[in-house]
């Protein structure tokens, strides 16, 4: 066992997965997730997200490299790993002929719970994900949002230490998405480590403590959402003046702080390094007697991060294919 493996929730070393035919879906991934973190795994379709998750959840074997979940090697100690993880996979693997309640009880049985324990746990989780009313209807009649909630409930049955969510909100309406985010945050507050894959940049920004960007099987960038954003371009400061005629004068004054361009009538955009420049800018204008109407800071989005880091857009050409089951 690697020295770090016991102290981190997830540890991945030089993970490689090659499919027959030579396709390298995962091409040397290294990452580490601490206990209690929410880690966001971000990438376009075909980047290797799902393959990585399948390896970490013991569904797939790595071609090379090693991985540990809660200290258990996912290959050599797969059984132990399965005891402590909860998994909600992309296809929401549910049986349409069973009811929600029946599925929860089955999941309980699969984790070794006795009948009464499984039933109690099932009822508890139904309340938590607000599926009590639909509990005795067949899953085939559930909406997409309901299926995801059930999938999450099933993943929570064993009170997992590490929760894997593979694109949990893809295809959901905004209300369902927000509800799921709330639930994930609540779980994390209770101490569950969450490994989340997503193609929604907003989701990573909203939920993740740290984000890893994966493209063509490799991690190309890693850090907190803010760190990543700050690596790309500089924030812009938009200044609107009360008296538009003073724009030219303001421009001369602010030239020292950074590149200045005219915005619309009576406004300026200043490209500067670091948000710390705001105060001096306002002070400069104030001392010169130029009244400022509004000041707005615009930081780059993760979209910009993606384009800068991977050289292509997040949506669109998904190079490579994630296949195989």
């Amino acid at each position: 066992m690697a020295p770090d493996a016991g102290t981190s929730a997830i540890l991945v070393e030089d993970l490689v997965r090659t499919y027959p035919g030579g396709l390298r879906a995962v091409d040397g991934v290294n990452l580490r997730v601490d206990h209690g973190e929410i880690y966001g795994f971000l990438g376009p379709n075909g980047a290797g997200k799902s393959t990585t998750v399948r390896i970490l959840t013991t569904l797939l074997r790595p071609t090379a490299g090693r991985a540990w979940v809660a200290g258990h090697d996912v290959v050599a100690q797969a059984g132990a790993a399965r005891r402590v993880i909860g998994v909600a996979l992309q296809e929401a693997a549910l049986d349409p002929l069973m009811t929600g309640r029946e599925l929860l009880r089955l999941q309980g049985a699969l984790h070794g719970l006795r009948r009464t324990e499984a039933a109690a746990r099932g009822d508890e989780l139904l309340e938590r994900v607000e599926l009590v009313e639909a509990a005795d209807r067949r899953v085939g009649t559930y909406s997409g949002g309901m299926r995801r909630r059930l999938d999450l409930a099933l993943a929570l049955v064993p009170r997992p230490r590490v929760l894997f969510l593979d694109e949990p909100t893809t295809g959901l309406d905004p209300a369902s998405r927000a509800a799921l985010w709330r639930e994930v945050r609540a779980l994390n507050d209770d101490g569950t480590t969450v490994f989340l894959t997503t193609q929604y940049l907003e989701e990573a920004e909203q939920l993740a403590d740290r984000v890893g960007i994966i493209d063509r099987g490799r991690i190309v960038s890693e850090g907190t959402p803010d760190e990543l954003k700050s690596r790309v371009g500089e924030p812009a400061l938009h200044v609107d003046l009360v008296d538009p005629s003073q724009v030219e004068r303001a421009r001369e004054l602010l030239a020292a702080h950074g590149e200045c361009t005219n915005r619309r009538e009576g406004g300026l955009t200043l490209r500067m390094s670091g948000a710390r420049a705001i105060a001096p800018v306002v002070r400069t204008l104030d001392e010169a007697g130029i009244e400022v109407d509004t000041v707005e800071v615009e930081t780059p989005t993760l979209d910009d991060v993606f384009l800068a880091v991977t050289g292509h857009m997040a949506s669109g050409d998904g190079a490579g294919a994630e296949g195989g089951r």
């Binding site: 959840t57 569904l59 059984g79 005891r83 693997a93 049986d95 069973m98 049985a109 006795r114 195989g324």
Partner: protein
């Protein structure tokens, strides 16, 4: 208890098998696609064969079992067992293609329990089917000289055979993962059926077929059922039937486990 020991705990695994068997059984009754072949088809064939070939009794030397339908119903029990097995394989292939199989794999469940769950479900289904078929035949005049013990024995043989066929179909499902392939295997069921003395006594079968039946374990299964129902050793030895069914069950379960390992090794 360490987590690995918990995995191997027989009590836990027994509960897992029971839960999976219950699910297998439930889905049988919830989907018309499964109900039709398992219950309706064998009864259709029973009606058709029992009425269409009833003149067979005039053949010299044809064994008498009272009403002709009482003779034919053993073949129906066999057919039910075969179809119960096939539908188990189809359901497993559907699980694999649909992703539910992954859910089972990520749970701390012993791989063999997944197979045993399917097989157990089919055994229980076999009991239900056989009971129903015998009851229907009784309504149409069949009489079972073997009495309650004979009936119970016949049902047991049929149910174990159902488990055996489920093991075979599951092995194919695990090996191929293809739902459409398994659905198209439907005609093969009839190959197994016809290469056993399902509807006619072995001695009366056409020459080449008679030779083939010797090698088919289902021959002994159906003859055993017949012997048990009519308390007539001349028709078949029930204990040989049990032995054949159990042997089939053991062999195909082993095959399934091998297929499972193969599937997981190459993933």
């Amino acid at each position: 208890m360490s987590t690995d020991a918990l995995d191997r705990d027989a009590g836990v695994q027994a509960r897992v098998v029971a839960a999976l068997a219950a699910r297998a059984l439930r889905s049988q009754f919830r989907r018309a696609q499964f109900l039709l072949p398992s219950f309706v088809l064998p009864l259709l064939l029973l009606a058709v064969v029992a009425s269409g070939t009833s003149s067979a009794r005039r053949l010299p030397g044809f064994p008498s079992t009272g009403a002709y339908v009482g003779f034919v119903v053993a073949g129906t029990l066999l057919q039910g067992a075969l179809l119960a097995g096939l539908t188990a394989g189809i359901a497993l292939a559907a699980d694999i293609e649909g992703g539910f199989f992954d859910r089972l794999l990520t749970a701390p469940v012993q791989r063999v329990s997944i197979v045993l769950g399917r097989v157990s479900g089919s055994i229980v289904l076999g009991v239900v089917q056989a009971s129903l078929f015998l009851a229907v035949a009784f309504l149409f005049g069949a009489r079972y000289q073997g009495g309650v013990p004979g009936i119970a024995l016949a049902i047991a043989i049929a149910a174990l055979a159902a488990g055996g066929m489920a093991g075979l179909a599951s092995a194919i499902a695990l090996r191929t993962g293809s739902l459409s392939l398994l659905q198209n295997l439907f005609p093969i069921v009839f190959v197994f059926l016809f290469t056993a003395p399902a509807f006619f006594p072995r001695a009366f079968l056409g020459g080449a077929l008679r030779h083939v039946t010797v090698f088919n374990p289902l021959t002994y299964v159906v003859e055993g059922i017949r012997g048990a129902l009519h308390d007539a050793p001349a028709l078949g030895n029930p204990w040989r039937g049990i032995l054949a069914a159990v042997g089939l069950l053991a062999a195909t379960t082993a095959l399934s486990v091998l297929a499972m390992r193969g599937r997981l090794r190459t993933r």
